[in-house]
Amino acid sequence: MGLIKETNAQYYSGQTVVGPTTNTNIFSFKLAETTSTNGFNTELVSAYGLPLLGTGKYTRVSETSNFTIHNLTTNTIVPEDEAIVSNVSTNEVTIVTAVAAGDFVLCQLKENAIDANNGSYSYVSLNDIIDNFMVAYTGQDQILTSVKRSQVLFHAKRSIQEFSYDTFPVIKSQELTVPPSLSVPIPQDYVNYVRIAWVDGNGILHTINPQYGLSANPTELPVQDSDGIPTQSSFGNNINAEQSLTEKRWANANDANITGNYDPFENQGVYDYIWWKQAYGQRYGLIPEVSNVNGWFSINDRTGSISLSSDLAGRLIIVKYISDGLGYDKDMKIPKMAEEAMYMSMMYNIIASRRDIDPGSKAFYKREKYVKTRNAKIRLQNLKLDEIVQVFRGQSKWIKH
Protein backbone atom coordinates (compact mmCIF):
# COMPACT_ATOMS: atom_id res chain seq x y z
CA MET A 1 0.00 0.00 0.00
CA GLY A 2 1.27 3.46 -0.83
CA LEU A 3 2.23 5.89 1.88
CA ILE A 4 -0.17 8.61 0.72
CA LYS A 5 -3.60 8.29 2.28
CA GLU A 6 -5.10 11.65 1.40
CA THR A 7 -7.20 11.91 -1.73
CA ASN A 8 -6.35 14.66 -4.24
CA ALA A 9 -9.38 16.62 -3.01
CA GLN A 10 -8.25 16.35 0.59
CA TYR A 11 -4.71 17.49 -0.23
CA TYR A 12 -5.29 20.22 -2.80
CA SER A 13 -8.69 21.57 -1.75
CA GLY A 14 -8.85 20.46 1.89
CA GLN A 15 -12.26 18.92 1.30
CA THR A 16 -13.90 15.64 2.19
CA VAL A 17 -17.54 14.66 1.87
CA VAL A 18 -19.57 12.17 3.89
CA GLY A 19 -22.99 11.00 2.84
CA PRO A 20 -25.65 10.10 2.29
CA THR A 21 -25.74 10.49 6.05
CA THR A 22 -27.48 8.06 8.38
CA ASN A 23 -26.17 9.54 11.62
CA THR A 24 -27.39 13.08 11.22
CA ASN A 25 -25.35 15.04 13.75
CA ILE A 26 -22.08 13.07 14.13
CA PHE A 27 -19.76 12.78 11.14
CA SER A 28 -16.37 11.10 10.92
CA PHE A 29 -14.03 12.70 8.41
CA LYS A 30 -11.28 10.19 9.27
CA LEU A 31 -7.66 10.84 10.17
CA ALA A 32 -5.10 9.20 7.86
CA GLU A 33 -3.07 8.04 10.84
CA THR A 34 -5.91 5.98 12.28
CA THR A 35 -7.60 4.56 9.21
CA SER A 36 -6.62 1.99 6.62
CA THR A 37 -8.57 3.89 3.94
CA ASN A 38 -8.34 7.53 2.84
CA GLY A 39 -8.24 10.25 5.46
CA PHE A 40 -7.01 13.76 6.26
CA ASN A 41 -3.41 14.24 7.40
CA THR A 42 -4.71 17.21 9.36
CA GLU A 43 -6.29 16.80 12.78
CA LEU A 44 -9.46 18.87 12.95
CA VAL A 45 -9.35 21.57 15.62
CA SER A 46 -12.44 23.37 16.83
CA ALA A 47 -12.48 26.69 18.62
CA TYR A 48 -15.50 25.40 20.55
CA GLY A 49 -16.05 22.54 22.98
CA LEU A 50 -18.35 21.19 25.65
CA PRO A 51 -20.48 22.15 27.49
CA LEU A 52 -23.34 23.08 25.18
CA LEU A 53 -24.73 26.37 26.42
CA GLY A 54 -28.39 27.24 26.86
CA THR A 55 -28.17 29.37 23.73
CA GLY A 56 -27.66 26.23 21.65
CA LYS A 57 -24.01 27.16 21.10
CA TYR A 58 -20.87 25.40 22.33
CA THR A 59 -18.38 27.02 24.70
CA ARG A 60 -15.44 28.91 23.22
CA VAL A 61 -12.19 27.10 24.09
CA SER A 62 -9.55 28.43 21.69
CA GLU A 63 -8.85 31.11 19.06
CA THR A 64 -10.02 29.55 15.86
CA SER A 65 -11.28 26.39 14.18
CA ASN A 66 -9.32 25.00 11.25
CA PHE A 67 -12.40 23.75 9.36
CA THR A 68 -15.98 24.57 8.44
CA ILE A 69 -18.90 22.20 7.93
CA HIS A 70 -21.23 22.61 4.95
CA ASN A 71 -24.49 20.85 4.17
CA LEU A 72 -24.17 20.31 0.43
CA THR A 73 -27.75 19.20 0.02
CA THR A 74 -29.25 22.37 1.46
CA ASN A 75 -26.25 24.54 0.52
CA THR A 76 -25.88 25.89 4.08
CA ILE A 77 -22.92 26.39 6.38
CA VAL A 78 -22.98 25.12 9.95
CA PRO A 79 -21.99 28.03 12.25
CA GLU A 80 -18.56 27.49 13.83
CA ASP A 81 -19.96 27.68 17.35
CA GLU A 82 -22.34 24.81 16.62
CA ALA A 83 -19.64 22.24 15.76
CA ILE A 84 -17.10 20.51 17.98
CA VAL A 85 -14.52 17.80 17.44
CA SER A 86 -15.89 14.97 19.58
CA ASN A 87 -13.07 12.47 18.82
CA VAL A 88 -9.71 13.84 17.71
CA SER A 89 -8.32 10.49 16.60
CA THR A 90 -11.13 9.86 14.13
CA ASN A 91 -11.74 13.51 13.17
CA GLU A 92 -15.31 13.04 14.41
CA VAL A 93 -17.37 16.20 14.40
CA THR A 94 -20.62 16.67 16.30
CA ILE A 95 -23.05 19.46 15.38
CA VAL A 96 -25.95 20.88 17.37
CA THR A 97 -28.67 20.91 14.73
CA ALA A 98 -28.96 17.59 12.95
CA VAL A 99 -29.09 17.51 9.17
CA ALA A 100 -31.75 15.50 7.35
CA ALA A 101 -30.99 11.81 6.83
CA GLY A 102 -29.48 11.28 3.40
CA ASP A 103 -27.91 14.74 3.17
CA PHE A 104 -24.29 15.10 2.04
CA VAL A 105 -21.97 16.92 4.44
CA LEU A 106 -18.68 18.56 3.46
CA CYS A 107 -15.73 19.32 5.72
CA GLN A 108 -13.67 22.22 4.35
CA LEU A 109 -10.23 22.92 5.83
CA LYS A 110 -9.35 26.58 6.17
CA GLU A 111 -6.60 28.04 4.02
CA ASN A 112 -3.89 28.03 6.72
CA ALA A 113 -4.61 24.37 7.51
CA ILE A 114 -4.28 23.46 3.82
CA ASP A 115 -1.03 25.46 3.62
CA ALA A 116 0.38 23.73 6.69
CA ASN A 117 -0.22 20.33 5.12
CA ASN A 118 1.18 21.20 1.71
CA GLY A 119 4.57 19.59 1.14
CA SER A 120 4.22 17.38 4.22
CA TYR A 121 5.15 14.30 2.19
CA SER A 122 8.78 15.40 2.09
CA TYR A 123 9.02 14.89 5.83
CA VAL A 124 8.81 11.93 8.18
CA SER A 125 7.72 12.35 11.78
CA LEU A 126 9.88 11.69 14.82
CA ASN A 127 7.48 8.98 16.01
CA ASP A 128 7.79 7.19 12.67
CA ILE A 129 11.58 7.42 12.82
CA ILE A 130 11.64 5.82 16.28
CA ASP A 131 9.14 3.10 15.34
CA ASN A 132 11.06 2.28 12.17
CA PHE A 133 14.34 2.20 14.06
CA MET A 134 12.96 -0.16 16.70
CA VAL A 135 11.61 -2.50 14.01
CA ALA A 136 14.64 -2.52 11.72
CA TYR A 137 17.66 -2.14 13.97
CA THR A 138 16.80 -3.73 17.31
CA GLY A 139 15.83 -7.21 18.45
CA GLN A 140 17.04 -10.79 18.19
CA ASP A 141 20.05 -11.29 15.91
CA GLN A 142 20.53 -7.54 15.45
CA ILE A 143 23.53 -5.54 16.65
CA LEU A 144 21.23 -3.90 19.17
CA THR A 145 19.63 -7.00 20.69
CA SER A 146 18.09 -5.19 23.57
CA VAL A 147 17.81 -1.45 23.79
CA LYS A 148 15.52 0.67 25.90
CA ARG A 149 13.08 2.78 23.94
CA SER A 150 13.87 5.79 26.11
CA GLN A 151 17.47 5.55 24.92
CA VAL A 152 16.32 5.49 21.31
CA LEU A 153 14.05 8.45 22.04
CA PHE A 154 16.92 10.37 23.62
CA HIS A 155 19.31 9.79 20.74
CA ALA A 156 16.61 10.51 18.15
CA LYS A 157 15.92 13.88 19.74
CA ARG A 158 19.61 14.63 20.14
CA SER A 159 20.15 13.79 16.47
CA ILE A 160 17.33 16.16 15.49
CA GLN A 161 19.01 18.88 17.55
CA GLU A 162 22.42 18.33 15.99
CA PHE A 163 21.01 18.06 12.48
CA SER A 164 18.97 21.23 13.01
CA TYR A 165 22.15 23.19 13.58
CA ASP A 166 23.96 22.31 10.37
CA THR A 167 22.17 19.76 8.21
CA PHE A 168 18.44 20.41 8.02
CA PRO A 169 17.24 23.39 6.00
CA VAL A 170 15.14 24.67 8.88
CA ILE A 171 15.92 28.36 9.11
CA LYS A 172 13.08 30.17 10.80
CA SER A 173 12.44 33.86 10.47
CA GLN A 174 10.42 36.64 12.06
CA GLU A 175 9.42 39.96 10.47
CA LEU A 176 9.55 42.71 13.11
CA THR A 177 9.50 46.48 13.35
CA VAL A 178 12.17 48.04 15.55
CA PRO A 179 10.44 49.94 18.38
CA PRO A 180 11.78 53.17 19.96
CA SER A 181 13.33 51.05 22.74
CA LEU A 182 15.62 49.59 20.01
CA SER A 183 15.23 46.03 21.25
CA VAL A 184 13.00 43.10 20.29
CA PRO A 185 12.62 39.89 22.30
CA ILE A 186 14.57 36.82 21.20
CA PRO A 187 12.17 34.35 19.47
CA GLN A 188 10.79 31.68 21.82
CA ASP A 189 12.57 28.76 20.12
CA TYR A 190 15.76 30.67 19.22
CA VAL A 191 19.08 28.83 19.42
CA ASN A 192 21.31 31.01 17.23
CA TYR A 193 20.89 33.67 14.58
CA VAL A 194 21.62 33.13 10.91
CA ARG A 195 21.12 36.64 9.57
CA ILE A 196 19.52 39.84 10.78
CA ALA A 197 18.70 42.32 8.05
CA TRP A 198 16.62 45.46 7.54
CA VAL A 199 14.17 45.64 4.67
CA ASP A 200 14.21 48.59 2.30
CA GLY A 201 11.31 49.98 0.25
CA ASN A 202 11.84 47.37 -2.46
CA GLY A 203 11.74 44.49 0.02
CA ILE A 204 15.48 43.92 -0.40
CA LEU A 205 17.41 42.76 2.63
CA HIS A 206 20.44 44.64 3.95
CA THR A 207 22.50 42.67 6.42
CA ILE A 208 22.86 44.24 9.85
CA ASN A 209 26.26 43.46 11.32
CA PRO A 210 26.93 42.44 14.89
CA GLN A 211 28.54 45.03 17.13
CA TYR A 212 32.05 43.59 16.74
CA GLY A 213 32.88 44.78 20.24
CA LEU A 214 31.99 48.41 19.54
CA SER A 215 29.69 48.39 22.55
CA ALA A 216 28.49 45.82 25.08
CA ASN A 217 25.46 44.49 26.93
CA PRO A 218 26.56 43.88 30.52
CA THR A 219 25.01 40.86 32.20
CA GLU A 220 24.99 42.50 35.67
CA LEU A 221 24.47 46.11 36.73
CA PRO A 222 25.57 46.31 40.38
CA VAL A 223 24.93 49.62 42.12
CA GLN A 224 28.17 50.74 43.78
CA ASP A 225 28.86 52.84 46.79
CA SER A 226 31.34 55.72 46.80
CA ASP A 227 34.22 53.24 47.30
CA GLY A 228 33.18 51.25 44.27
CA ILE A 229 31.86 48.31 46.32
CA PRO A 230 28.57 46.79 45.13
CA THR A 231 25.76 47.48 47.60
CA GLN A 232 23.36 44.84 48.91
CA SER A 233 19.72 44.73 49.83
CA SER A 234 18.48 43.75 53.32
CA PHE A 235 18.26 40.16 51.99
CA GLY A 236 21.99 40.12 51.26
CA ASN A 237 21.76 40.24 47.47
CA ASN A 238 23.48 42.74 45.20
CA ILE A 239 21.31 45.64 44.15
CA ASN A 240 21.19 45.98 40.38
CA ALA A 241 20.49 49.12 38.37
CA GLU A 242 17.42 49.21 36.15
CA GLN A 243 19.27 50.29 33.04
CA SER A 244 22.78 49.92 31.67
CA LEU A 245 24.57 53.21 31.09
CA THR A 246 26.59 51.63 28.28
CA GLU A 247 23.41 50.61 26.51
CA LYS A 248 21.90 54.01 27.07
CA ARG A 249 24.90 55.77 25.53
CA TRP A 250 24.94 53.29 22.63
CA ALA A 251 21.25 53.92 21.99
CA ASN A 252 21.90 57.65 21.84
CA ALA A 253 25.07 57.37 19.77
CA ASN A 254 25.38 59.16 16.49
CA ASP A 255 26.26 56.38 14.07
CA ALA A 256 27.93 58.78 11.71
CA ASN A 257 30.69 59.24 14.29
CA ILE A 258 31.47 55.54 13.91
CA THR A 259 30.91 54.94 10.23
CA GLY A 260 32.46 58.17 9.08
CA ASN A 261 29.27 58.88 7.16
CA TYR A 262 29.54 62.64 7.70
CA ASP A 263 28.12 65.44 5.73
CA PRO A 264 30.12 65.68 2.46
CA PHE A 265 31.32 69.11 3.51
CA GLU A 266 32.96 67.84 6.70
CA ASN A 267 36.43 66.90 5.66
CA GLN A 268 36.91 64.14 8.25
CA GLY A 269 34.09 62.10 6.66
CA VAL A 270 34.65 59.28 4.18
CA TYR A 271 32.33 61.00 1.79
CA ASP A 272 34.22 64.28 1.89
CA TYR A 273 33.73 66.04 -1.45
CA ILE A 274 37.46 66.65 -1.83
CA TRP A 275 38.03 62.91 -1.94
CA TRP A 276 34.86 62.18 -3.86
CA LYS A 277 35.47 59.77 -6.72
CA GLN A 278 39.20 59.78 -6.11
CA ALA A 279 39.56 57.46 -3.13
CA TYR A 280 35.97 56.47 -2.52
CA GLY A 281 35.86 53.82 0.21
CA GLN A 282 39.66 53.74 0.44
CA ARG A 283 40.27 56.26 3.21
CA TYR A 284 43.18 55.44 5.47
CA GLY A 285 42.01 53.73 8.65
CA LEU A 286 38.62 52.74 7.26
CA ILE A 287 37.18 49.64 8.96
CA PRO A 288 34.80 47.99 6.47
CA GLU A 289 32.74 46.04 9.04
CA VAL A 290 31.79 49.21 10.90
CA SER A 291 31.87 51.68 8.04
CA ASN A 292 28.48 50.93 6.57
CA VAL A 293 25.02 52.39 6.81
CA ASN A 294 23.19 49.20 7.85
CA GLY A 295 23.55 49.56 11.62
CA TRP A 296 24.48 47.01 14.29
CA PHE A 297 22.82 44.52 16.53
CA SER A 298 23.78 42.58 19.63
CA ILE A 299 22.26 39.71 21.58
CA ASN A 300 21.49 41.04 25.04
CA ASP A 301 21.56 38.03 27.37
CA ARG A 302 20.55 40.11 30.38
CA THR A 303 17.22 41.16 28.90
CA GLY A 304 16.81 38.22 26.50
CA SER A 305 16.49 40.53 23.54
CA ILE A 306 18.10 41.60 20.30
CA SER A 307 19.39 45.16 20.68
CA LEU A 308 19.70 47.32 17.60
CA SER A 309 21.52 50.56 16.93
CA SER A 310 19.69 53.87 16.92
CA ASP A 311 19.63 54.36 13.11
CA LEU A 312 17.39 51.27 12.82
CA ALA A 313 14.53 52.69 14.93
CA GLY A 314 11.22 52.26 13.15
CA ARG A 315 12.68 50.08 10.40
CA LEU A 316 11.34 46.72 9.29
CA ILE A 317 13.78 43.90 10.06
CA ILE A 318 13.95 40.18 9.35
CA VAL A 319 15.46 37.93 12.02
CA LYS A 320 16.54 34.60 10.55
CA TYR A 321 17.48 32.04 13.15
CA ILE A 322 17.83 28.35 13.79
CA SER A 323 16.03 26.32 16.42
CA ASP A 324 16.82 22.80 17.61
CA GLY A 325 13.79 21.15 16.02
CA LEU A 326 12.24 20.21 19.35
CA GLY A 327 10.47 23.41 20.31
CA TYR A 328 7.07 22.47 18.97
CA ASP A 329 5.44 19.18 17.98
CA LYS A 330 5.13 20.39 14.40
CA ASP A 331 8.91 20.96 14.29
CA MET A 332 9.69 17.35 15.15
CA LYS A 333 9.92 16.16 11.59
CA ILE A 334 12.83 15.01 9.50
CA PRO A 335 13.36 15.65 5.78
CA LYS A 336 13.15 12.32 4.00
CA MET A 337 16.48 13.08 2.35
CA ALA A 338 18.08 12.88 5.79
CA GLU A 339 16.16 9.83 7.05
CA GLU A 340 19.02 7.38 6.59
CA ALA A 341 21.42 9.84 8.20
CA MET A 342 19.09 9.97 11.22
CA TYR A 343 19.09 6.16 11.57
CA MET A 344 22.85 5.94 11.32
CA SER A 345 23.34 8.83 13.72
CA MET A 346 21.03 7.18 16.26
CA MET A 347 22.68 3.81 15.69
CA TYR A 348 26.20 5.07 16.24
CA ASN A 349 25.30 7.24 19.21
CA ILE A 350 23.60 4.28 20.90
CA ILE A 351 26.33 1.72 20.28
CA ALA A 352 29.10 4.20 21.11
CA SER A 353 28.03 4.12 24.75
CA ARG A 354 27.56 0.34 24.97
CA ARG A 355 30.23 -2.01 26.17
CA ASP A 356 28.78 -5.16 24.55
CA ILE A 357 29.57 -3.90 21.03
CA ASP A 358 32.92 -4.77 19.52
CA PRO A 359 35.21 -1.88 18.51
CA GLY A 360 35.06 -2.95 14.85
CA SER A 361 31.29 -2.43 14.73
CA LYS A 362 31.63 0.90 16.48
CA ALA A 363 34.19 2.07 13.92
CA PHE A 364 31.97 0.83 11.08
CA TYR A 365 28.93 2.74 12.30
CA LYS A 366 30.98 5.84 13.05
CA ARG A 367 31.97 5.83 9.39
CA GLU A 368 28.40 5.10 8.31
CA LYS A 369 27.11 8.03 10.34
CA TYR A 370 29.70 10.32 8.78
CA VAL A 371 28.98 9.14 5.24
CA LYS A 372 25.19 9.31 5.55
CA THR A 373 25.32 12.74 7.18
CA ARG A 374 27.56 14.01 4.40
CA ASN A 375 25.14 12.57 1.83
CA ALA A 376 22.22 14.26 3.57
CA LYS A 377 24.04 17.60 3.60
CA ILE A 378 24.80 17.36 -0.11
CA ARG A 379 21.20 16.44 -0.88
CA LEU A 380 19.75 19.18 1.28
CA GLN A 381 22.04 21.84 -0.16
CA ASN A 382 19.72 21.57 -3.14
CA LEU A 383 22.38 22.05 -5.79
CA LYS A 384 20.79 21.94 -9.23
CA LEU A 385 22.81 21.82 -12.42
CA ASP A 386 20.98 24.64 -14.21
CA GLU A 387 21.38 26.94 -11.22
CA ILE A 388 25.11 26.25 -10.91
CA VAL A 389 25.58 26.83 -14.64
CA GLN A 390 23.87 30.20 -14.30
CA VAL A 391 26.19 31.17 -11.44
CA PHE A 392 29.27 30.03 -13.35
CA ARG A 393 28.31 32.23 -16.27
CA GLY A 394 29.23 35.13 -14.00
CA GLN A 395 32.92 34.25 -14.30
CA SER A 396 33.12 36.02 -17.67
CA LYS A 397 31.68 39.27 -16.34
CA TRP A 398 34.33 41.80 -15.47
CA ILE A 399 32.75 43.98 -12.88
CA LYS A 400 31.64 42.48 -9.60
CA HIS A 401 30.05 44.25 -6.69
Binding site: T34, N87, V88, S89, T90, N127, Q140, D141, K148, S150
Partner: protein
Protein backbone atom coordinates in the same frame (compact mmCIF):
# COMPACT_ATOMS: atom_id res chain seq x y z
CA UNK B 1 -2.58 -30.28 21.59
CA UNK B 2 -2.85 -30.85 25.28
CA UNK B 3 -1.81 -34.15 26.89
CA UNK B 4 -4.66 -36.34 28.03
CA UNK B 5 -4.41 -36.85 31.78
CA UNK B 6 -5.92 -40.32 31.62
CA UNK B 7 -3.36 -41.49 29.07
CA UNK B 8 -0.54 -40.37 31.33
CA UNK B 9 -2.07 -41.86 34.50
CA UNK B 10 -2.74 -45.25 32.93
CA UNK B 11 0.75 -45.34 31.37
CA UNK B 12 2.36 -44.48 34.68
CA UNK B 13 0.32 -47.12 36.48
CA UNK B 14 1.06 -49.80 33.93
CA UNK B 15 4.81 -49.16 34.29
CA UNK B 16 4.66 -48.95 38.08
CA UNK B 17 2.52 -52.04 38.43
CA UNK B 18 4.86 -54.23 36.45
CA UNK B 19 6.01 -57.00 38.78
CA UNK B 20 3.70 -55.56 41.46
CA UNK B 21 6.17 -52.78 42.35
CA UNK B 22 3.62 -50.33 43.67
CA UNK B 23 0.72 -47.98 43.07
CA UNK B 24 0.01 -44.29 43.38
CA UNK B 25 -3.43 -42.92 44.22
CA UNK B 26 -5.21 -40.33 42.05
CA UNK B 27 -4.51 -37.71 44.73
CA UNK B 28 -0.77 -38.47 44.65
CA UNK B 29 -0.82 -38.54 40.86
CA UNK B 30 -2.53 -35.14 40.66
CA UNK B 31 0.09 -33.63 42.95
CA UNK B 32 2.99 -35.13 41.00
CA UNK B 33 1.43 -34.27 37.62
CA UNK B 34 0.97 -30.60 38.59
CA UNK B 35 4.53 -30.47 39.88
CA UNK B 36 5.95 -32.04 36.71
CA UNK B 37 3.87 -29.81 34.45
CA UNK B 38 5.18 -26.71 36.22
CA UNK B 39 8.73 -28.01 36.01
CA UNK B 40 8.52 -28.60 32.26
CA UNK B 41 6.64 -25.32 31.71
CA UNK B 42 9.35 -23.41 33.54
CA UNK B 43 12.04 -25.13 31.51
CA UNK B 44 10.55 -23.64 28.31
CA UNK B 45 11.87 -20.22 29.27
CA UNK B 46 15.32 -21.45 30.24
CA UNK B 47 15.58 -23.56 27.08
CA UNK B 48 14.44 -20.66 24.94
CA UNK B 49 17.12 -18.50 26.48
CA UNK B 50 19.73 -21.17 25.66
CA UNK B 51 18.48 -21.64 22.13
CA UNK B 52 18.44 -17.91 21.39
CA UNK B 53 22.16 -17.85 22.10
CA UNK B 54 22.74 -20.66 19.61
CA UNK B 55 20.92 -19.09 16.69
CA UNK B 56 18.02 -20.35 14.65
CA UNK B 57 17.92 -22.76 11.73
CA UNK B 58 15.54 -22.37 8.81
CA UNK B 59 13.77 -25.70 9.22
CA UNK B 60 10.00 -25.71 9.35
CA UNK B 61 9.63 -28.47 11.94
CA UNK B 62 13.00 -28.63 13.73
CA UNK B 63 13.50 -24.97 14.58
CA UNK B 64 13.88 -25.13 18.36
CA UNK B 65 13.32 -21.43 18.93
CA UNK B 66 10.10 -21.52 16.95
CA UNK B 67 8.92 -24.71 18.68
CA UNK B 68 9.57 -23.29 22.12
CA UNK B 69 7.86 -20.02 21.25
CA UNK B 70 4.84 -22.02 20.08
CA UNK B 71 4.83 -23.97 23.33
CA UNK B 72 4.82 -20.74 25.33
CA UNK B 73 2.31 -19.04 23.03
CA UNK B 74 -0.52 -21.28 24.22
CA UNK B 75 -0.20 -19.68 27.66
CA UNK B 76 -0.08 -16.10 26.40
CA UNK B 77 -3.03 -13.96 27.40
CA UNK B 78 -4.06 -10.44 26.43
CA UNK B 79 -6.55 -8.58 28.55
CA UNK B 80 -7.54 -5.07 29.53
CA UNK B 81 -6.46 -3.71 32.86
CA UNK B 82 -8.32 -1.07 34.71
CA UNK B 83 -6.66 1.93 36.27
CA UNK B 84 -7.77 2.35 39.84
CA UNK B 85 -9.02 5.93 39.87
CA UNK B 86 -9.03 5.97 43.65
CA UNK B 87 -5.33 5.17 43.75
CA UNK B 88 -4.10 7.70 41.20
CA UNK B 89 -2.20 5.69 38.63
CA UNK B 90 -1.87 2.42 40.49
CA UNK B 91 -3.26 -0.60 38.73
CA UNK B 92 -3.39 -4.12 40.12
CA UNK B 93 -2.36 -7.03 37.92
CA UNK B 94 -4.22 -10.32 37.87
CA UNK B 95 -3.11 -13.20 40.13
CA UNK B 96 -2.87 -15.67 37.26
CA UNK B 97 -0.03 -13.64 35.78
CA UNK B 98 3.14 -15.72 35.68
CA UNK B 99 5.47 -13.66 33.51
CA UNK B 100 4.65 -10.11 32.51
CA UNK B 101 5.03 -9.34 28.81
CA UNK B 102 4.04 -6.06 27.25
CA UNK B 103 1.61 -3.39 28.40
CA UNK B 104 0.00 -1.28 25.70
CA UNK B 105 -1.72 2.07 25.93
CA UNK B 106 -4.63 2.46 23.52
CA UNK B 107 -5.11 6.18 23.07
CA UNK B 108 -8.47 6.72 21.36
CA UNK B 109 -8.28 5.26 17.85
CA UNK B 110 -4.55 5.74 17.41
CA UNK B 111 -2.36 2.68 17.06
CA UNK B 112 -1.56 1.28 20.50
CA UNK B 113 1.78 2.31 21.96
CA UNK B 114 3.94 0.00 24.05
CA UNK B 115 4.54 1.22 27.57
CA UNK B 116 8.18 0.77 28.38
CA UNK B 117 9.04 -1.08 31.58
CA UNK B 118 11.70 0.57 33.69
CA UNK B 119 12.94 0.20 37.22
CA UNK B 120 11.86 2.68 39.88
CA UNK B 121 15.31 4.25 39.65
CA UNK B 122 15.08 4.64 35.87
CA UNK B 123 11.51 5.88 36.22
CA UNK B 124 12.72 8.88 38.18
CA UNK B 125 15.67 9.46 35.87
CA UNK B 126 13.45 9.33 32.78
CA UNK B 127 11.09 11.87 34.24
CA UNK B 128 13.91 14.28 34.98
CA UNK B 129 15.37 14.29 31.46
CA UNK B 130 13.41 16.62 29.22
CA UNK B 131 14.30 14.55 26.16
CA UNK B 132 13.03 11.26 27.60
CA UNK B 133 10.18 12.57 29.76
CA UNK B 134 7.22 10.18 29.37
CA UNK B 135 4.29 11.35 27.25
CA UNK B 136 1.12 9.80 25.86
CA UNK B 137 3.23 8.89 22.82
CA UNK B 138 6.02 7.36 24.91
CA UNK B 139 4.67 6.23 28.31
CA UNK B 140 6.65 4.26 30.88
CA UNK B 141 5.84 2.15 33.94
CA UNK B 142 7.47 0.32 36.78
CA UNK B 143 6.26 -2.63 38.79
CA UNK B 144 5.76 -2.64 42.53
CA UNK B 145 4.53 -5.99 43.85
CA UNK B 146 1.58 -6.86 41.65
CA UNK B 147 0.86 -3.21 40.94
CA UNK B 148 2.07 -1.12 38.06
CA UNK B 149 2.68 2.61 38.14
CA UNK B 150 2.25 4.30 34.78
CA UNK B 151 3.44 7.74 33.69
CA UNK B 152 1.70 9.75 32.38
CA UNK B 153 -1.33 8.30 34.11
CA UNK B 154 -4.72 8.31 32.46
CA UNK B 155 -6.94 7.89 35.46
CA UNK B 156 -10.19 9.23 34.12
CA UNK B 157 -13.10 6.88 33.67
CA UNK B 158 -12.47 7.15 29.94
CA UNK B 159 -9.12 5.49 30.56
CA UNK B 160 -10.66 2.31 31.94
CA UNK B 161 -9.82 -0.42 29.47
CA UNK B 162 -7.28 1.75 27.69
CA UNK B 163 -4.43 -0.39 28.94
CA UNK B 164 -3.87 -3.87 27.55
CA UNK B 165 -1.53 -6.27 29.28
CA UNK B 166 0.05 -9.26 27.58
CA UNK B 167 1.34 -11.93 29.91
CA UNK B 168 2.04 -15.63 30.26
CA UNK B 169 -0.28 -17.34 32.71
CA UNK B 170 0.50 -20.35 34.86
CA UNK B 171 -0.80 -23.73 33.62
CA UNK B 172 -3.85 -24.98 35.44
CA UNK B 173 -3.39 -27.73 38.05
CA UNK B 174 -3.72 -31.21 36.55
CA UNK B 175 -6.70 -33.21 37.87
CA UNK B 176 -7.41 -36.87 37.08
CA UNK B 177 -11.05 -36.89 38.13
CA UNK B 178 -12.74 -40.13 39.07
CA UNK B 179 -15.86 -41.86 40.26
CA UNK B 180 -15.96 -45.01 42.31
CA UNK B 181 -16.89 -48.24 40.55
CA UNK B 182 -19.04 -51.08 41.86
CA UNK B 183 -16.17 -52.77 43.67
CA UNK B 184 -14.66 -49.54 44.91
CA UNK B 185 -12.27 -49.14 41.94
CA UNK B 186 -11.40 -45.70 40.51
CA UNK B 187 -13.04 -44.93 37.19
CA UNK B 188 -11.83 -41.93 35.19
CA UNK B 189 -14.40 -39.16 34.72
CA UNK B 190 -14.02 -36.33 32.22
CA UNK B 191 -16.50 -34.22 34.15
CA UNK B 192 -15.30 -31.14 36.07
CA UNK B 193 -12.90 -30.76 37.79
CA UNK B 194 -11.04 -33.06 35.38
CA UNK B 195 -8.14 -31.13 33.86
CA UNK B 196 -5.74 -32.34 31.18
CA UNK B 197 -2.12 -31.26 31.00
CA UNK B 198 -1.98 -27.92 29.21
CA UNK B 199 1.60 -28.18 28.04
CA UNK B 200 2.38 -29.31 24.52
CA UNK B 201 1.80 -32.97 23.63
CA UNK B 202 5.38 -33.23 22.33
CA UNK B 203 6.35 -33.32 26.01
CA UNK B 204 4.21 -36.37 26.84
CA UNK B 205 7.20 -38.73 27.13
CA UNK B 206 9.00 -36.33 29.44
CA UNK B 207 5.87 -35.91 31.56
CA UNK B 208 5.54 -39.68 32.03
CA UNK B 209 9.24 -40.16 32.79
CA UNK B 210 9.28 -37.37 35.36
CA UNK B 211 6.11 -38.56 37.05
CA UNK B 212 7.65 -42.04 37.18
CA UNK B 213 10.76 -40.61 38.76
CA UNK B 214 8.76 -38.89 41.50
CA UNK B 215 6.56 -41.98 41.85
CA UNK B 216 9.69 -44.00 42.53
CA UNK B 217 10.35 -41.68 45.46
CA UNK B 218 6.76 -42.14 46.70
CA UNK B 219 6.90 -45.92 46.56
CA UNK B 220 10.61 -46.01 47.57
CA UNK B 221 11.83 -47.93 44.56
CA UNK B 222 15.42 -47.00 43.63
CA UNK B 223 15.28 -48.94 40.38
CA UNK B 224 12.33 -46.86 39.11
CA UNK B 225 14.02 -43.61 40.15
CA UNK B 226 17.26 -44.51 38.38
CA UNK B 227 15.63 -45.78 35.23
CA UNK B 228 13.24 -42.83 34.91
CA UNK B 229 15.78 -40.14 35.77
CA UNK B 230 18.30 -41.71 33.36
CA UNK B 231 15.75 -41.67 30.55
CA UNK B 232 14.66 -38.12 31.39
CA UNK B 233 18.28 -36.95 31.47
CA UNK B 234 18.97 -38.49 28.06
CA UNK B 235 15.96 -36.74 26.64
CA UNK B 236 16.99 -33.40 28.15
CA UNK B 237 20.43 -33.79 26.67
CA UNK B 238 18.99 -34.58 23.25
CA UNK B 239 16.74 -31.54 23.35
CA UNK B 240 19.42 -29.11 24.39
CA UNK B 241 22.45 -30.34 22.44
Amino acid sequence: MAINVNTVYTTVLSILNKEQRGYITPYEFNQLATQVQLEIFESYFENLNQQLKVGENASEYANRVKLLQEKIARFEVEENIAVATSEANLSTLTDTLHRLGTIHFNNLSYLPVEIQQVTKHEFNLNRRSKLTAPSLDWPIYYKEGNKIIIEPAETSTVAQGKYTVEYVRKPKDVVWNYTLGGVGQYLHSTAAPNQNFEIDDTDQTEVILKILMYSGVVIRDQEIIQAASGAAARQDQLQSS
